[in-house]
């Protein structure tokens, strides 16, 4: 647990990324995406599925290229993201053409890594570029807040198992505590730094607390089938990038579409 808390502190510099925003944040997101998908694909190899990492990198470069072009106003294609999706899926399908060595699962895992890890984490950058860049803090507070509060509430009060088959240590008490923690942190943030959208911060605290746990459980489902405990070991006690950002992957799109639809 000591390692866990210490490693938690290691995350602090990451918050600097959020503070600077724009290109710095973009670079950070890109790295999270390409390292995350690397770990994800490594997990698949344990199941004898061989996704194509080079295709994922090409896809990430194209996606962030579109983002950079959009940010600088260079690119003015109407539908750049569907073009990106088409190219990514096309490359993944053509990857199967070496039919002796490759199988549909390899292509399907390539596509899944691209849309789940690279595309989902890209929303972190999209929130930064939205009308409410301040809400990138809500992503972090909801995701990490839920995790930390769930951990300690579960330790102190945990009795009823949440979903033992997916993640044996999680408890209903921890889940509720995590969500309340997310609401608390997002509410405090709203109160002190974004008073005019306090209600939105609270709502995002609730939704983020729930969605954050779905992100965590999704990563657990994959890992359970892959037969691994962690995706990597970049951060001692926290596993890989993907272990740490599994919740962010889900909360970032939530916040982005919440902004687009309700704000």
């Amino acid at each position: 647990m000591k390692t866990r808390i210490l490693s938690g502190l290691i995350m602090v510099p990451l918050l600097a990324l959020l503070y600077f925003g724009d290109y710095v944040l973009m670079a950070g997101c890109f790295i999270i995406g390409v390292v995350g998908v690397y770990e994800f694909y490594k997990g698949f190899r344990a199941m004898e599925v061989e996704p194509s990492y080079p295709i994922a990198v090409v896809s990430a470069v194209l996606l962030y290229g579109i983002g950079a072009g959009d940010m600088t106003g260079i690119i003015k294609l109407s539908d750049p993201y569907i073009f990106w999706l088409f190219v990514s899926v096309l490359l993944s399908l053509l990857y199967m053409f070496k039919i002796d060595e490759r199988k549909p699962a390899d292509a399907m895992a390539t596509v899944t890594g691209i849309v789940y890890v690279i595309f989902f984490s890209y929303h972190f950058f999209l929130v930064d570029q939205s009308d409410w860049p301040i809400l990138i803090w809500i992503i972090v507070l909801a995701a990490f807040g839920t995790d930390i509060f769930a951990y300690f509430t579960g330790m102190a009060l945990g009795k009823h198992k949440l979903c033992p088959k997916i993640s044996p240590k999680k408890t209903v008490e921890g889940s509720v505590g995590g969500t309340l923690g997310s609401v608390l942190l997002c509410g405090l943030f709203g109160y002190f730094f974004a008073g005019d959208i306090l209600m939105h911060c609270l709502v995002l605290g609730v939704l983020g607390g729930i969605v954050s746990q779905l992100g965590d459980l999704t990563a657990s489902v994959f890992k359970r089938h892959m037969g691994i405990k962690d995706y990597g070991n970049i951060i001692p006690g926290h596993g890989g990038i993907l272990d740490r950002f599994d919740s962010v992957l889900f909360v970032a799109p939530l916040v982005f579409y919440y902004i687009r639809i309700f704000m």
Copy 2:
């Protein structure tokens, strides 16, 4: 072969869809998408992979809902398609939560069917809604033209195998003949019906002829692994919807992005 040609004629009414465009074409595309993905998923069951058809239908409804909203001007979300992608992927991932019954391959196949069959075929509708709706005819001419000319050229002159492991009957001669046939048909169409964009029609004839065959081979790779000859038997001698539209799936996006980038 007689059945094949007769069934080819059965395709003619389909051309009426193109003629009417808009809602009629949209409905046709939707049906091709949801029937196609049904066949695709059925093929997976032969490999003991169980994608979720209901999720694919929800995804298709959402996608075409966005398309209809856009067409009528009701919806004015900025990035409706990435929202659609997020929802589709999210549902597919959550589908795994019944961890006793389901596995990552089920979710991955669900995602792949959605982006490959539903999303690719959706471009047919997008071309109809673009600045150059007349080019929907080019999609059909390139895709079916390549197929028919490749078939007869291969029968008459075929000597060198193209890629025997994926599709044993295809020959290099058939492939070249197919592409030339596509250029011929697209060129004639351009000459008689779209003289001002004849060059574009010819270029699309070449590209379409090549991409069309990649679409055909992609479907073959899947079928080979699934251990099936055809995806279905809706059209006698032509198999299922997906057997017939495998080339269109690839040519429709090609034409759409060609329009967006070069025209």
